[in-house]
Amino acid sequence: MSKQQTLYEKIWNAHVVERRDDGTCLIYIDRHLVHEVTSPQAFEGLRAAGRTVRRPDLTLAVPDHNLPTTARRDAAGNRLPILDKMSAQQLEALEANAPAFGIRYIGATDIEQGIVHVVGPEQGFTLPGTTMVCGDSHTAAHGALGSLAFGIGTSEVEHVLATQTLMLKQSKSMEIRVDGTLGFGVSPKDVILAIVGKLGAAGGTGYVVEYTGSVIRDMSIEGRLTISNMAIEHGARSGLIAPDDKTYAYLKGRPMAPKGAAWDEAVAWWKTLPSDAGARYDKVVLLDAADIVPNVTWGTSPEDVVPVTGVVPDPASFEDASKRDAAAKSLAYMGLEAGQRMQDVAVENIFIGSCTNSRIEDLRAAAHVLRGKHIAAGVKQALVVPGSGLVKAEAEREGLDRIFIDAGFEWREPGCSACLGMNPDKVPAGERCASTSNRNFMGRQGPGARTHLLSPAMAAAAAVTGRLTDVRELLGSE
C-alpha cells in the first residue's frame, strides 16, 4: 500500500483475519488479560458448549478487583481467607478456571500479582503492534506501549477465549498532539486531565486516539501509561502512543518479552509502526504544554477539570442546558458551592493507587512530597496501594514505604483497592477523597463518596495540608 498510514491503521491491517461484505472485520487478538470479576460466566459458557481456550499461551489471568489489600498471609505464612463470600467465590473460580483451561495464572500471593494493567507491561506481556483485550475498560492503558488495546464485555471475553478473534468495525482516528515542555510540578496525570477536560467525556467516542507531540515523546513509559489509561475517560476505546527507543528499553529483558534473535526481529518490525509522515487523521486536537497546570476535578465526571488554583465553576456558566443540569447535580453530590476556591476544599481521605497511578514513578513522586512530613490532622484515611507486588518490592528497596508509613500512610498489598467500591477499601459516604484513580463517578469509591482526581504528587500535597493544594507551592517553599 502506498498510502501513508497511521499507527492505528498499520496495527489494524496486520490483524485482519477476514473482511466481511458489510465492512466488519474478524480481528485477531494477540494478548488477552483475564481477571476474576468479568470472567466466570465466560468460562462457564466455554464449559457448557464443550469449548476450549484457543490460545492459552496468549492469555494471562490475574486477580485484582476484589482482593482485599490487607495482608494475604498470616505470620506463619498461611494464606488468609477473603471474608466477603462473593469475592472469595469469584477468586476461587479464577483459581480453578485458569489451570482447567491451561491459562497462565498469577496468584493472589505471588510477587508478580497486581492490577492487570500494571502487570501486563511489567511482565512484557504487552508488546507494541499487538492487539490486546481485557474485560475492563481501562485496558486502553496498554496503548502506551503501542498496543491496540481495549476493554470488552463478558460475552466478548468468551468469544476471544474460544476464537482468539473479535468481529469489529474500524474506528475513526484522532491525533491528540501535546507540544512544548511541561512546567515545574506538572505531571502526566495533569496532562491527561487537561485532555479529558478539553475534549469532554464523550469527545473521543467512536475514535481510536493517538497521543503525539514533544510532551508525549519526552515522557517516560510510566507517564505514558497514565495518559493512555484514561483514553476511555474521553470516550476513546483505545489511546495509542507510537513505540520508540524508550519503549524498547522499557521492555527489554522483561519476563514475557521476546529474547535473543526474536527480540531483534521484533524491534525491527516495531520500528515500522509509527504513523507515516503525512498520514491523515479524521480529527486533530492540539494542546500547548504551557497551558497545562496541576489539575483537579470538581464534579462527578472526569471531564470536570479545573486548575488547582481555580474555583468551583458556576453551573449557570455552561452554555449547554444539559451540562448546566449535570453540573448542579454534581455540586450537590460533591457538597461544593460555585465560586469556592479549590484549594479551600478539605479532604478526609487520600488514595494513591489504581492502574492510572500506582507504578514506581508515581510512588516516588508522592514520596518526594511526603519526605519528612506528616499527614494533616483532618485526614482520617491515607492509603498507598502499589500496582503490583514487584512495584511494592522495588519501593521497599528504595525505602519509599518508610516515607509513607512515617508520614501516616497505610502501606498496602497490590490491587484495585479504593478505585472502585468492590473490595473492603472504600471512602465513607459524604467524605472526600483526593484520589489518583481515573473515575470520580457518583458512588465509584463507595456509596456517597466524593472523589477529586489528581496526580500522585498532588495527592501527597493534599495529605500534608488536609486540603486540595498546589504542589508547586508546597515544593517551592522548601
Binding site: D30, P56, D57, M86, E158, A162, W269
Partner: protein, 203 residues
C-alpha cells in the same frame, strides 16, 4: 449452543402480558459467577402463587412457554435467558417480545415465536391438556387437533438456530481463516506467539 429444529412437548400456559426480566430472574441472582444453575430462581415471584403453572406437575419439564404481549421487557440482563434455558425452555410463544430479550434468547438458542393473539389464545387452550409442536424448518406451530399456525423469522437467525451456531460458533466457521492467519504470523512475527515469548515466566 444446541441446534434447534423441532421443539415438541408440554407448554407452560402462562398467558401473562408484560412479563419483565425481573420477574424471570430477580436481581438477587445476578451476583452469581455462573450462567447455569439459575433455573431454580426463575419466575420466583410468580411461584409465590401456589397455583402457578411452573409448579403444576402437569407441565413439569415443558420445553415451551406460551405468554402474552411484550414478553421479556425491562432490564437487559442476559440472566433471564440463561435462567429459562437452565429450566429447559427452548421456545417461547407470544404476540410480541422485547428486542433485547429476543436477542438474548437467540444468543442462547431459545426460539422466540411471534403469533397473533388469537393463535396464542388457541394454543393456551390446547396446552392445558395436550402437547404443542414447533417446527422451525417449516416455520409452523401445530397441535394434535389440526391447528396450524405459521410464523416469521429472520433468515439469518433461523440458519444460526438450525445449525446451532451462536456468535462464537459462527466465528468458528471461519476456523480455516483463523488458522491460516496464525500460520502466517508464526512465520512472519514468531515472537508474538506465546510458546517462545513466555517460556521464562516463573509464577
Amino acid at each position: 449452543m444446541e441446534p434447534v429444529s423441532v421443539i415438541e412437548g408440554k407448554a407452560y400456559p402462562l398467558g401473562l402480558k408484560n412479563v419483565d426480566t425481573d420477574m424471570i430472574i430477580a436481581a438477587d441472582w445476578l451476583k452469581t459467577i455462573s450462567r447455569s444453575g439459575l433455573g431454580v430462581g426463575a419466575f420466583e415471584a410468580l411461584r409465590q402463587d401456589p397455583d402457578n403453572v411452573f409448579d403444576n406437575p402437569a407441565y413439569a419439564g415443558a420445553p415451551i412457554v406460551i405468554a402474552g404481549d411484550n414478553f421479556g421487557c425491562g432490564s437487559s440482563r442476559e440472566h433471564a435467558a440463561w435462567a429459562m434455558l437452565d429450566m429447559g425452555i427452548r421456545a417461547v410463544i407470544a404476540p410480541s417480545f422485547s428486542d433485547i430479550y429476543s436477542s438474548n434468547a437467540f444468543k442462547n438458542g431459545i426460539l422466540t415465536v411471534v403469533l397473533p393473539q388469537e393463535a396464542v389464545d388457541r394454543l393456551l387452550e390446547v396446552a392445558q391438556t395436550d402437547p404443542i409442536h414447533v417446527d422451525l424448518d417449516s416455520q409452523t406451530v401445530t397441535t394434535p387437533f389440526q391447528d396450524r399456525f405459521t410464523f416469521e423469522i429472520d433468515p439469518f437467525r433461523k440458519q444460526c438456530l438450525i445449525n446451532g451456531l451462536d456468535e462464537i460458533g459462527l466465528t468458528l466457521t471461519s476456523d480455516a481463516h483463523i488458522a491460516s492467519y496464525e500460520k502466517k504470523v508464526a512465520s512472519e512475527r514468531p515472537w508474538v506467539s506465546g510458546e517462545k515469548s513466555h517460556e521464562s515466566l516463573a509464577v
